[in-house]
Structure formats: structure tokens, C-alpha cells
Symmetry: C2
């Protein structure tokens, strides 16, 4: 069985994603599609609109065969560590021939070449990155600038490293290179809606951002219908009817306020991504902020982007401290693989892989007691506390009851 | 101006309380009644039904002239420390001639005599108390038994130290004795409804417990009306209409679940009143408990009474750690006096006292930055998070806007 790996968030899974799954299978000739998916909290430091079980089901109904959960500790990090965690999952599973991702560029050669150069951590690049970060630039911006000024100094032309999916793709290549992985990266050009496009740009295709906005701001799930597969729509409706969706930051804001009420500044500074005195800025901003959005607007600066702040706040909610993070040794490879769901073909693939695995394949939360996994459970529980109280009470221990989704 | 001190919770203020205020003034011939009142969390480890500002107003409308807030760190402790904190407030204010409290016994002589003996910390008593506690008895029960077996060993008759208001009264006497205070304790016999009576026992008098039950369980504030002054009733209605009442533990349960989701067992064990492995019991009990009540029922034992568990859980919500508690040095006397409200007469009394005070008289939260006071602010903020989200956002910083209530 030939297998292709993909890295997804599906917040929610829309027509563009379904197209990406089908194309990934086609261009790589794969029999099996294995997705590494973020759990309940996403790379931009947000809770997913619907929980990971529902999103895993969306994936399985649109051609994905296996959904593995990207451990929570990787899911809310910058492109570099996010990509590293995702590639480490595919590498740990093994049997994966290619990884296929969308990018604005659609060309893999420059990514592979740049990854090879960056893998050696050249000082010319490192120094420029440090400098750009010290100027208060956000990581993606600093990264793009450092790459191109470093190349210019060598007389090389600039590369399109300022586009989010190019950056992510480059980091997949870089992670695979660093792991000496045999997985071959493949990219397909992203068509239609840009990642950040806020409004639908086509009759059937809209970005996840646009879709979220339609649901959250207009409060109209039916407005979303043209842009998502019918299978996704049915799941979204079910989750909305069960009062589990749409989840958003405002629902978790009381938990955040509680942390700011009872933690000392130095305890907040101990949280991952709370750096350079950010704790004081947050404590000031939260004092009179009537909503999460107002809070973030008050705290935001050029240096502390919306995404960076949101990540720090997820880490605060999950109590991911710098000490704990260091002890987790996230560069050592993933110590388990959490299975969120599979199709019949996916099950067969997992059965074959099982005897070769060096890490446990976790299908029940009670099977594993590991400090990295503890954060996945935290993330699931904290997310559930954003539901209305009666739903929260019922869902809060779901991880220990929920078997993998089978489609 | 002759002044009498009283210690109250007013959860809520009912006809029996109003009678106590009037009697306290009469029997002591006082011109001014100064109440030390618990803030938003009470001695039984519960959030008050209505917030402290509303309760201060109830008091001022029924004959109390000054309401001081008992610092939160004392308010949710056993009788001994609760009483110590309350007496320390009256002693720090000064100008108080008597303290007047209700008791089942109604006689002060045995309390004064027993307090004098206990003040010396006799080993015969101490050893018996330790032993009773080691057997798993609750503090009030162990205390009563230790007193009477110790007295029996000396051929002395038993004393009624098994009734809650007698115990509290005795501890007021003991605290004053230890402070070498000149304040003279006076007790009046509690009439009618016992402290724990669940159902009304008279046409106009019902215990606060019975009143809370009528409101919370029957959901009928009007059913409460016969048992409270009209001034109280109007305030309760206003608070209910503003969605600030009735507050209860279930509303804070999500915050508690969050703590159990993200704290390690040893971090829970670091909280005041989480002793002897209680953290493991709590973590087990919370795993499948759909409500605060179910959680407490699952955690409760003979040793861990409902009250003791609730106190530990308040401390967890406020993040009152053993280290922090030790550093606060609560036996050193209160470092400030927080004024929640006053009448015209009360204001005149405070004006006269002001020049004699060794500690700040705080009428605005922004006036003081003190680690003990920080817990009062935490308590107010955490309590506000039990309101519906929009109300919570508006109320969460109220401490910094609210001036003393003036009646």
C-alpha cells in the first residue's frame, strides 16, 4: 500500500480541502491518505470551531483514511515546531512514501534546496533572523526577510518565503531533512481562495476564514453550505444542535480571566510564549476588557501579533510552562501516535504498520500515561469547558470514552 | 461614642439578624454598631448568595453603622482563625467597647473562663485535640470532644461546646484574650431558628439556610419575603434582576474543573486545606462528576466534611497556596481595614478613629497594594466570573470603581 501524508486543521473541512485530498492521492498515486490533524486548539492559537472528533469524521468522509492527532504541544507553535511535530508523527508511523501539501508557489525545488541550506543552520542566516526578531518583527516576517537578505548577500534571487503556505511547506521540507526522513515532499499549487481571504471568492470555494466568519458573525450555518461538502455540513449541523459548536475564544474568556485574577505576574511569565515582559502588558490589558476581542485589541502590538498573543493565551489556559515544555523534550520525536479515526482501508494500513512501530498507537486515552499526552487531555477538557455548563459536564471526560471514529 | 462590634455573614440578612443588631445595641448601650462581614466567600466555603456590596447595604439599612470586610483569607477558615481575623479587625479599628454575638447558650461566663484556660494552650487539651483529629474527626467535633474529655479528667462538668455558635463565641473570647484586648465580649441567646434548620420554623423567622433553600431550590424569591426585612427583599430583587444573584457553587464549577484539568496532583496538594492526600481523592471524584454537588458527594467522607472540602475548593479557586499563606503571616494582625459602607453616624465614627489608626482605612481598592488584600481582590473577581458572561465582564473589575455604600 502506497501512502501519502497530509497535515491539516480542517476548521472546518471545505470544498478546497476535499480537492486537496483528492489531488494528493492522484499526484502521488497513493492508496492510503494519512492526515496529521491538530486537535482542539489550532496553530493560530484558537479553539477549533468544532471539536477534533467531529473534524476527524469530516476528513474520513472526504477521502482521508487515517486521522492522527498532532499532539497539542506542537499544534499551537510557530511554523517550525508545528511542521516538525507533524513530520515526526508521519515518520513515527512509517510506511509513508510522500507528504503532499498545498502552497502558493506550487514548486517544490526551491523549497528542497533552501531546506538543505537552512538545515546546516548557516550563521549568515541565523544572525539576520535574530536581528529581525530583535527589531520586533513577527516570526514569519522576520524569517522571510532573513532568508532573502541572506540570499541577496550571496547574490541569489529572492524566494517567495513571505506566504504562509510556502513557509509551512518549507518547514515540512526542513523537518524531513533534519530527520533524514525517506518521505518525499510534494506540493500542489493552492487555487482560488487565499488563506486569509475574508469573503468567499467563488461559488463553491471559500477560505476557512471566510466560512468561520459566515457562521460566527452572521450566525448562519446555512450560509456555509455552498462552500463545504454535504458530509461536513451535516456534521456541523449536528454539532451546532448539540450545542458543541461553534466554539470560539469568547466562550473560554471566563477561564482566562480567572487565570489573570489569581496568578502573580511571575507565574504568568513562566508560561510558554510569554516573553519580554508580556505578562505586564496582558495584566494591564485584561483589567478593563469586556471581551476577548477587546482584550486582544488592547494587548496587540507590531511585535506581539494577534497569533502570537493567542498562542500564549492557549498555553496559559493549558498551563504549559516553560519548565514543563523543556522537560517534554519535544525535539526527541513523538512518543505515541493518537488515532482519531480511520476508514476500512485505513484500519488495514494501521494493522500492517502496527508490528513495526516503536511507539504506542493509542486508540483509548486510558492506554497511555505520558506527560506529552497529558496536554492533549488538558486541551480536550479545557475546550469542553467552553460548552454550555450541562454540555461541558457531559463532555469533559469524553476522551476516556471516545473510541476512534470509524467510517 | 460607645461602639459595639458584631461579626456577620448576612447570607442573606433576615429578620433574626435585624433582631440581633437591635439587641446588640440595646444590651451594650452602644451608639454605633460596627460589623465585620465576610466578603464574597463564606466560612462554610461557599460563595455568598449575593455579593458583599449588596450585603453591606442590607446591613446598613437595618441598623449597622459601619461594615468592614473580613479579609478573604480569614473568612473561609475554621472557627479559630475566622474568629481571630474578625477580632483583629475590631482591635485594629479601636474605639470598640464590646463585641456582641448570638450563641445557643446565651451565657458568657463559661466562655470567658474556658478561653482563659485554653489561652495557655494546656498540653492535656492539645494532646486530646490532636488525637481526635488523627482519628479523622472534623475540627468542631474534635474540639468539643477534646474540651470535655480534658475537663472530665480534671473532674469538671462538660460544657456545651458542640454547638456552632457557642464554638464561634468561645473563639471570639479566646482571640480577644490572646490579643490582650480591652474589648468586652457579650452574648445574647439565639432565639428561634437554629443555624442549620432547613425549613422555616416561625411566621417571621427562618434560618439563613432555610431562606437560601427557598430561593435556590424552589427558585422563588417571593417565598423568602416573610423572613427578611423589606429592605433586604428589595436588594435581593434588584440583584436577581441584574443577574448577579442567586450565586452558588454550580456557577463556579467550570472554573474548578479547569483547575483540575490543568494542575498536577502536587500543585493541588500545595493548596491550603488540601492535606493527607486529599488531592488524589478530589482528582478521582471530579473525573466523572456532572455537577459540583455530585463531585462533593463523591469526595465526602467522615474526615473530609462538606465544609472542609468546600473551603479547600475555595482556596483552590483563589490559588491560596500553603507557601503564600505562610508568607502572609495571618497571626500578625490585620494590615488594613477595608470599608464596605457606612451610615452618617458610622462616617462620623470612622472620622474620629482615623487619626488613631496604625493601619490604612481602605475605601478604594486602588489605595492599597498588599499581598493579603490581593486575595480580597481575587475573591471579588473570581466571584464575578460566576455571573453570566456579559455581567461577569462588566463586574469583574468592580472593586476598582466601587466606593463604600452610603446609607
Amino acid at each position: 500500500m502506497r501512502a501519502v501524508g497530509i497535515v491539516v486543521e480542517y476548521n472546518p473541512m471545505h470544498n478546497g480541502h476535499a480537492y486537496h485530498v483528492a489531488r494528493s492521492r492522484d499526484v502521488t498515486g497513493a492508496d492510503v491518505v494519512v492526515a496529521v490533524m491538530s486537535g482542539n486548539f489550532l496553530q493560530r492559537g484558537e479553539p477549533a470551531l468544532v471539536n477534533k472528533w467531529a473534524r476527524a469524521e469530516m476528513a474520513l468522509r472526504q477521502g482521508v483514511d487515517v486521522v492522527l492527532e498532532l499532539p497539542a504541544v506542537y499544534a499551537t507553535q510557530n511554523a517550525e515546531l508545528f511542521a516538525w511535530g507533524a513530520m515526526a508523527c508521519l515518520e513515527a508511523l512509517g510506511g509513508i512514501d510522500t507528504v503532499c501539501f498545498g502552497s502558493e508557489s506550487g514548486a517544490i525545488d526551491w523549497m528542497l534546496e533552501l531546506a538543505e541550506r537552512l538545515a546546516e543552520e548557516p550563521e549568515g542566516f541565523r544572525a539576520r533572523l535574530r536581528e529581525a526578531l530583535a527589531q520586533g518583527m513577527s516570526f514569519p516576517k522576520a524569517f522571510g526577510q532573513a532568508v532573502n537578505t541572506w540570499r541577496a548577500a550571496q547574490g541569489l534571487p529572492p524566494l517567495p518565503v513571505d506566504q504562509p503556505n510556502n513557509i509551512l511547506g518549507l518547514h515540512y521540507c526542513l523537518a524531513l531533512r533534519r530527520m533524514n526522513s525517506a518521505i518525499r515532499p510534494v506540493t500542489i499549487r493552492r487555487e482560488k481562495a487565499g488563506y486569509h481571504d475574508a469573503a468567499p471568492t467563488d461559488k463553491r470555494i471559500a477560505s476557512a476564514t471566510a466560512i468561520r466568519r459566515l457562521w460566527l458573525e452572521a450566525g448562519r450555518l446555512d450560509a456555509v453550505r455552498p462552500y463545504v461538502p454535504e458530509t461536513t455540513y451535516a456534521i456541523l449541523r449536528r454539532e451546532e444542535e448539540a450545542a458543541r459548536a461553534p466554539m470560539h475564544w469568547e466562550r473560554l474568556y471566563p477561564l482566562l480571566l480567572h487565570q489573570f485574577a489569581v496568578l502573580e505576574a511571575d507565574e504568568i511569565a513562566a508560561i510558554v510564549d510569554v516573553d519580554e515582559g508580556l505578562e505586564h502588558r496582558l495584566l494591564r490589558a485584561v483589567r478593563t476588557a469586556p471581551s476577548f476581542e477587546a482584550f486582544l485589541r488592547a494587548a496587540k502590538t507590531k511585535r506581539y501579533t494577534w497569533t502570537r498573543l493567542q498562542r500564549a493565551l492557549v498555553h496559559l489556559l493549558l498551563r504549559l510552562t516553560k519548565d514543563r515544555f523543556r522537560a517534554l523534550d519535544v525535539r526527541a520525536g513523538v512518543p505515541y501516535l493518537r488515532v482519531l479515526g480511520f476508514t476500512a482501508r485505513g484500519r488495514e494500513f494501521l494493522r500492517r504498520r502496527k508490528k513495526h512501530l516503536a511507539v504506542p498507537l493509542v486508540t483509548r486515552a486510558s492506554q497511555l500515561d505520558h506527560p506529552l499526552f497529558a496536554f492533549d487531555l488538558r486541551a480536550a477538557r479545557v475546550y469542553a469547558l467552553g460548552y454550555p455548563p450541562e454540555v461541558a459536564a457531559a463532555e469533559w471526560n469524553r476522551e476516556f470514552r471516545q473510541p476512534p471514529v470509524q467510517v
